[in-house]
């Protein structure tokens, strides 16, 4: 299959774009990566995702797939005979993985964002507490899902590893910029070690942005937000 048959529209700081790229790497799919300038979205992006106008978008044989977790499931299904399975094979394990993936997006990510949003010390403290509570729940989920193996998905990274792991760059940036420990060796020992393994994984390390580069980007973003130039 030619490389141009598969395109990913993305932006390097986006954790959601990472999800799509990790899935494609696991399945050894060659693709063309197109970096979007989010200040000025491409015609292709607007045409491929008219509903949300957001990245990531996977375009496979000219057919667009949108929403990062939907893309991951699509990649798993479309290239099912290539590479390991991403989603668990047992329906109950799948339901558990999907549940926690939804939790991460609905609860953890907003809490993470509001730590750095500059709404005042009280709000920041509350957001940190909320995030840590969530991480403790995920620690428990990790123990149950991994069953002693290195990843949520078992011996290899799977759906929930990808869903949660994509946020690690931003977790580290938030820790650095706010001088707070979020992934704690004592409170969440399983997750702490899992995070290192995840970031070092062959499917992840080339698409995980460097913390310093991401921190620089975060500072620029904060300035743009403060000046009202970024929604």
């Amino acid at each position: 299959m030619a490389k141009s048959d598969v395109k990913v529209l993305g932006a390097w700081p986006s954790p959601f774009v990472m999800r799509a790229r990790i899935a494609l790497k696991i399945k050894s799919v060659e693709y063309e990566y197109l970096e979007e300038n989010l200040g000025s979205k491409s015609e292709l992006l607007l045409k491929s995702n008219p509903v949300h106008k957001k990245i990531p978008v996977l375009i496979h044989n000219d057919k667009p797939v949108c929403e990062s977790l939907i893309i991951v499931e699509y990649v798993d299904e479309a290239w099912s005979s290539s590479g390991p399975s991403i989603i668990p094979s047992d329906p109950y394990d799948r339901a558990v993985a999907r549940f926690w993936a939804a939790y991460v997006d609905e609860k953890l990510f907003p809490a993470l964002k509001s730590i750095g949003s500059g709404d005042g010390a009280e709000a920041k403290k509350a957001a940190i507490e909320q995030l840590i509570e969530g991480l403790v729940l995920l620690e428990d989920a990790f123990v149950k899902c991994s069953k002693g193996k290195p990843f949520f998905g078992g011996s290899q990274i799977g759906f929930l590893d990808i869903a949660f792991g994509c946020y690690l760059g931003w977790v580290r940036v938030t820790e650095k910029m706010n001088e707070v420990k979020l992934l704690d060796e004592v409170k969440t020992p399983g997750l702490f070690k899992w995070a290192e393994r995840f970031c070092a994984d062959a499917a992840v390390k080339d698409v995980m942005p460097e913390t310093d580069k991401l921190a620089e980007f975060a500072k620029v973003l904060a300035k743009l937000r403060a000046s009202g130039k970024w929604n």
């Binding site: 509903v51 496979h60 057919k63 939907i70 499931e73 699509y74 329906p91 109950y92 339901a95 549940f99």
Partner: protein, 225 residues
């Protein structure tokens, strides 16, 4: 081993209704419990400790929460009358529209329902823009799932009865036939489909309930600022 399938829901929750629909459509034998959310059962609290919400499906003692997760679990576990197509691209599209329904349609309709005055006008405008995407998606289709009911139909099905309830309470039509001919036709066809048609909670009871939910918002808006 005898299968034990239990559904925790409430009489009015549209999310619980989705799970109820899929179990019925698949012909699965199940028991259900209508929870009183002001006095949640120990079973509910134990089965969904993270959110403490309905619906929860308990299959042979193992709990599954989050309605869209439940729909996919049921579809994968009981293979008769599949709700998702075989083709990966069509599956991705079905999931996309189900998610769009929850992330955008629900939120925009709810805002149109609770907001007052100028804010309500804006919210209604936004809801209509959101609904236009659904109208577009129905072109050439009987259901969102194609020829028969699929996952996105179950996910969006709450529109078929709750829109009427909301419109009655706020006194504003949100889905007009002239502007949304396909969506209106879909709502009617879905509402009258086998299994679905017997499941709707009583209309008047819903109107009373949602009117009561809206009261504090009306009162707050009437306060001098």
């Amino acid at each position: 081993m005898a299968e034990e399938v239990k559904l925790l829901k409430t009489w009015s929750s549209p999310f619980g209704l989705r799970a109820f629909w899929i179990l019925k459509l698949k012909g699965v034998q199940f028991d259900f419990i209508d929870e009183d959310l002001s006095n949640k059962s120990p079973l509910l609290l134990q089965s969904n400790p993270v959110y403490k919400k309905v619906p929860v499906l308990i299959h042979n003692g193992k709990p599954i929460s989050e309605s869209l997760v439940i729909l996919e679990y049921v579809d994968e576990t009981w293979k008769q009358n599949p709700l998702l197509p075989e083709d990966p691209y069509e599956r991705a599209r079905a999931r996309f529209w189900a998610k769009f329904g929850d992330d955008k349609v629900l939120a925009s309709i709810w805002n149109a329902f609770i907001k007052q005055g100028k804010e309500q006008e804006e919210a209604i405008g936004l809801a209509i823009e959101t609904l236009k995407f659904l109208e577009e998606e129905l072109k050439g289709k009987r259901f969102f799932g194609g020829e028969k009911i699929g996952l996105p139909d179950l996910a969006l099905g709450w529109l078929a009865n709750l829109i009427g309830v909301f419109e009655e309470v706020i006194g504003v039509k949100l889905i007009e036939k002239e502007r949304f001919p396909l969506l209106s036709a879909w709502m009617q066809e879905f509402a009258e489909a086998p299994v679905i048609k017997e499941s709707w909670p009583p209309h008047e009871k819903l109107v009373t309930k949602f009117r009561a939910i809206r009261e504090p918002y009306v009162a707050a808006a009437a306060q001098p600022k």
